[in-house]
């Protein structure tokens, strides 16, 4: 977990959250505010020393999310071009995770209402799908092929144009 920075917002108060498997985390209030759910809890005075319980977020993804929010809250407004690029680099490295972590982040960011992270994880997943054959996508994402060979052939024939990916786009037909 990244160290919380002092310039993370007007409020220096730390917010405690608890993962589904009982681990405690801390982040500055400005970072917690990036989560719609946490923001509402803070506004409703539900943030106390015991920490806000996050029933469906396990410690591993929660550590990442705290890391993400802390980084983004510290660099929130009035970004210089260099800072914006640094944040982009941070995002790119941050989302280089295996598919299990990616699914966890997708679900957790969606649940906690962290919009920036949701977009980042959704885009990462879409990028992994791009340009791949159905078989490659099954392998990447652990999906079982439950088509009969006839069904699969039929589906490919229905939208034949979409499966001709090996041909160069400039080809004249």
């Amino acid at each position: 977990m990244a160290a919380a920075t002092d310039d993370a917002g007007d409020s220096n108060e730390m917010i405690r959250v608890v993962s589904s498997d009982g681990e405690h985390f801390e982040m500055p209030e400005a970072a917690a505010n990036l989560s719609l759910v946490l923001r509402h809890m803070i506004e409703d005075d539900c943030a106390d020393a015991a920490g806000i319980p996050l029933a469906v977020v396990a410690a591993k993804p929660l550590a990442k999310i705290v890391d993400y929010c802390t980084k983004h809250a510290a660099k929130s407004s009035g970004l210089t071009i260099e800072e914006a690029e640094e944040l982009k680099r941070f995002d790119a490295e941050f989302i280089e995770v295996d598919t299990d972590m990616l699914y966890d982040l997708l679900v957790a960011a969606d649940f906690m209402g962290v919009e920036g992270l949701s977009k980042l994880a959704v885009q990462r997943t879409a990028d992994l799908i791009k340009g791949k054959t159905p078989e490659q996508n099954r392998e990447t994402f652990g999906i079982v092929n439950d088509f009969t060979p006839e069904e699969e052939e039929e589906i490919c024939k229905e939208n034949e144009w979409a499966f001709q990916i090996t041909k160069p786009p400039s080809r004249l037909c």
Partner: protein, 438 residues
């Protein structure tokens, strides 16, 4: 950073939790994710990638069809059958439908696409019939269902005929962008175009680029678009359009090789007085085309003028505009109509037009297709002597014709001109160089 409200309903966090959710989140397959998330992922794909997911598994086989916001982009030479089939299967609203290089064999298919697009609430349509390998192909007349696409926000058509709007056409209430490029209109086309524009009250951007009104004899007609911010009218012939005052106008490009003989240019430019960027082909008239203009172009920062300095009246017309644009920073002049310089003016003639605010903020000037005859040189000398904050003046010499002053002569002369701005630099280039830098 403020988080904006989520697009979906948020579940409240419950301390008890749901063990099923936990198990799902820890699952090893993309399929364990909720349907909404999967749709969100698919909506980020190109149509081709999205359609290809249909062959992954049963649960994926129809997902793309019900994924909102997929953009239907079809590059040149896409198979028309594929376009129609994908459109027919897609069950959501179509936000964008774009296809380029449509060839004649696709024409029968388009008659099927347009009613489908109308039924699917299409918002943006781009249909371009430019096919560079087959330029002689006949113009295709669009299916009247184009007028049933009542949810359109953007419509861009290239090289086709627009049919007559059917009785009861309800307008395009949400249309903000209308762009017609080499589009032909039916009989009384100017009236029909007038009605389409009038019935699109949200229009912000209008481009009429070589729209063909087939009538020889047309009345004047009015472009009624009170919210217009960008207006482009480019055509060989003037087909009688008039504009009203455009209080929100920011960018305008008015360029007709052959304006109507009775066009009122003072009125036209007065309607455009709020522009920030203007491109304008100055008419070739006997007298000063802008005689009596009284408005001021306070917001005008960038001006591209197609004009010349061959007659006193064209110089006066040009100054009629320049003198009323005190905040002009960027001036580009393209010399039009190469012909003899019939009046010769000297620096005193231009000095008599001087006002204190003329060129006061001018930072950059270019003059393209310059013959460097005496009037042009005089203008260059005048600008250099008056523009106090000028930084760059580019002269692109037209050396294709035998009419131009030889470049060596022009350069020697230019070097002698006094510069009011200590930072001013003058660059002399050949016309071919404009290709290099543009």
């Amino acid at each position: 950073m403020e988080t904006s409200p989520p697009r979906r309903k948020q579940r409240p966090p419950s301390p008890e939790g749901d063990p099923d959710d936990l198990a799902a989140a820890a699952g090893a397959s993309l399929d364990s994710l909720p349907e909404e998330l999967l749709e969100n992922i698919v909506s980020r794909l190109t149509l081709r990638d999205a359609v290809r997911t249909s062959a992954v598994s049963q649960s994926w086989s129809r997902r793309w069809e019900s994924t909102p916001d997929l953009r239907h982009y079809w590059p040149r030479r896409s198979r028309p059958g594929a376009i129609g089939a994908a459109l027919a299967r897609y069950s959501c609203k179509v936000c964008q439908f774009c296809t380029w290089g449509i060839r004649s064999e696709a024409f029968p298919h388009i008659d099927e696409w347009l009613p489908l697009l109308a039924a699917k609430g299409v918002q943006c349509i781009t249909l371009s019939f430019w096919d560079y390998s087959d330029v002689n192909v006949e113009y295709y007349t669009l299916h009247p269902a184009i007028f049933a696409c009542g949810q359109l926000t953007s419509l861009h058509l290239e090289r086709c005929f627009l049919p007559t709007a059917p009785e009861g056409f309800a307008g395009f209430p949400n249309l903000t962008m209308l762009s017609l490029v080499y589009v032909g209109l039916p009989e009384n086309g100017e009236r029909k175009l007038e009605a389409i524009i009038r019935m699109s009250p949200s229009l912000v951007s209008l481009e009429l680029n070589n729209v063909e009104v087939t009538d020889d004899d047309f009345d004047s007609w009015i472009i009624q678009a009170p919210n217009l911010a960008r207006l482009t009218i480019i055509s060989d012939i003037d087909y009688g359009w008039e504009i009203q005052e455009l209080p929100s106008i920011q960018e305008a490009n008015i360029n007709s090789e052959d304006y109507s003989i009775d066009r009122d240019f003072v009125r036209l430019l007065t309607c455009l007085a709020e522009v920030r960027e203007l491109e304008f082909l100055m008419p070739y008239t006997e007298g000063n085309a802008l005689e009596g203009i009284s408005c001021s172009f306070q917001k005008l920062r960038s001006l591209t003028l197609h004009t010349n300095f061959y007659t006193a009246s064209s110089i006066l017309s040009t100054f009629g505009l320049l003198m009323r644009a005190p905040n002009l920073k960027l001036l580009e002049i393209e010399i039009t109509y190469h012909e003899n310089q019939s009046d010769e003016v000297d620096i005193d003639f231009l000095n008599a037009l001087w006002t204190n605010s003329l060129f006061a903020n001018l930072d950059f000037v270019s003059m393209k297709s310059a013959s460097c005859w005496s009037n042009e040189m005089c203008f260059i000398e005048f600008v250099l002597s008056k523009a106090r904050v000028l930084r760059e003046f580019y002269i692109y010499h037209d050396d294709t014709g035998s009419y131009s002053k030889p470049r060596e002569e022009a350069i020697i002369e230019l070097a002698k001109y006094k510069r009011a701005s200590p930072k001013a630099m003058v660059f002399f280039r050949d016309m071919e160089d404009t290709w290099l830098y543009s």
